[in-house]
Amino acid sequence: MRALTWHGTKDVRVETVDDPEIINPRDAIIKITSTAICGSDLHLYDGVIPAVKPGDVLGHEFMGEVVETGSDATLKKGQRVVVPFTIACGGCFHCKSQQYSACDNSNPVEKQDMSATLYGQPMSGLFGYSHLTGGYSGGQAEYVRVPFSDVGPIVVPDHLEDEKVLFLSDILPTGWMAAENADIKPDDTVAVWGCGPVGLFAIQSAIVMGASKVIAIDHYPHRLELARQLGAEIVNFRTTHVREALMEMSGGIGVDAVIDAVGMESHGFAVDNMMDVVKQKIGIGADRASALKQAILAVRFGGKVSIPGVYGGMTDKWPLGAMMEKGLQLRGGQTHVQKYTKDLLAKIEDGTLDTTFLISHRLPLEDAARGYKNFKEEQDSWTKVILKPGMEKAA
């Protein structure tokens, strides 16, 4: 089959690789109809996530048709499914508590040691996202092997086209959980750093949850415009002093909740961020966290901090004092996708959530490398890229 494979920093290629096979009883093979490039794929592209190997198939946002099933699978051939990026067994302590992204059993045993050393306990398995999370082949391909197919994939009705439901795989539930983690109460003022797809869905979710004011922070005019169309007020950090603005816009006490939808490759000119940029570049492993640090200073005393943005390691100059003295609550975590898919599918169907407004480009899978490059370099106009394995390549 054809698949997008990683070969090094800023080097991804569409190549022919072996087709996936059913290996375990609960497996299914899905023929991909649509897949997307995620902002977090850019962390792989930029080479800041460890344990990615040449030849790894990337992609963790995908959907398609069931074409093969293992002996214990419950899916039926021909069903149309969206697959969560988090692989979860459904039977362990965490899955039973609906903390699917903390599944004990989906990361193969021999791959668990690395993240257990980093974080104290091992991470669960994720599709196409380094060998820290299992080294599973991802879905930017024609076919994918889906383990525990009786727990993850959600069957979608035929009248909803791919583009409406594809984002159930990651960014829609991730944005939703980000807002949930911000514990939004009616009348809350919420600030969201980063108007990428997750930030935009977090904004939409916060509004649906009843926030009275959502403030979107970014520096790309088009992305800020998308946020405004959703109903957010916008702040451009290139032209505006963000913390001062947020104090003014929140009645002088700071915002009730902050959401960092930026993550480890944060932009910014503050001294600590520039130091982090240097450390990340020379490979001594610091996460750039300037957006999060700013968010912690901007939130009010007793405020809520939600972190959907991806971080992998350590950071320096952490505002620990602000965290303690202000009595903040911090929540992060990979998304427990399986917990949200059913409710969010209903919200797509009844029109509560719009999932297509952010799609900017649709490309054949064969053009995936161009998709990565532009998604990285033309962030203002390339807001979300969908790849279609069957689509004709443009001349």
Binding site: D18, N105, S106, E110, G125
Partner: protein, 217 residues
């Protein structure tokens, strides 16, 4: 990862190297230096001099009895202990069985064992019989975990390597990262009991660890 390329006799199934000292002696000795807190032995910060770690544990979200029964049928052990080829049970009542352990250069090592003592639902202890290629003993314990977390399964294995060239080769293999092997085997046991299968990220059958080991042998 170098570990993945090592195949063949990576350890006596869940082999923990004890340098030929019987388990009972080790445990008695460890007790003397035991701190007065409530943590399990495996979490001891201070090792007892020459004796290193003797076991591992894993918590499995299943009732004690179910796990005990599965383990008590030694034929099941090869399903999650990576270096066991198979276990032939000769007598279920006494637990007499022959363990076929993957040995160097595609050879296998046979160990005949018998159950020395057992406490229904809580503990099984076994040891090798005279005439085995390797002298070994092991113990698995099942305890209720806190809250609804299931069962804590503790495993301790000791062995005395045999003389001769084969023995030396086997011993060398046993000494290779036995702690990691024990932890990995217990986690495979957990996966098998909680999910009915053992997770693999292989895309094709030929990429699975089992297939790779077979090819290397």
């Amino acid at each position: 990862m170098s570990r993945q390329t090592r195949t063949g006799p990576a350890a006596l199934a869940v082999g923990i190297a004890l340098g030929g000292v019987a388990l009972g002696a080790i445990q008695a000795k460890r007790k003397q230096g035991r701190s007065p807190d409530d943590a399990p032995d495996f979490a001891l910060r201070q090792r007892d001099g020459e004796y290193d770690l003797v076991g591992r544990s894993v918590t499995i979200r299943k009732p004690r009895d179910e796990l005990f029964r599965f383990w008590r049928d030694f034929g099941n052990l090869a399903r999650f202990m990576e270096n066991l080829e198979k276990v032939e049970v000769e007598d279920a009542a006494t637990g007499r069985a022959t363990w076929h352990i993957k040995g160097p250069a595609g050879r296998s090592v046979a160990v005949r064992t018998t159950i020395e003592s057992e406490d229904e639902g809580r503990m099984i202890a076994w040891r090798s019989l005279d005439g085995s290629d390797v002298e070994t003993e092991g113990k698995v314990t099942f305890e209720d975990a806190p809250g609804d977390r299931g069962t804590r399964v503790g495993l301790t294995i000791g062995y005395k390597p045999p003389a001769g060239a084969l023995g030396k080769a086997v011993a060398k293999a046993f000494l290779r990262e036995p702690e990691i092997q024990a932890r990995h085997d217990l986690k495979r046991f957990k996966m098998l009991m909680e999910t009915g299968e053992i997770a693999t990220s292989a895309r094709t059958k030929a990429q699975t660890r089992a297939a790779k080991q077979e090819n290397a042998a």
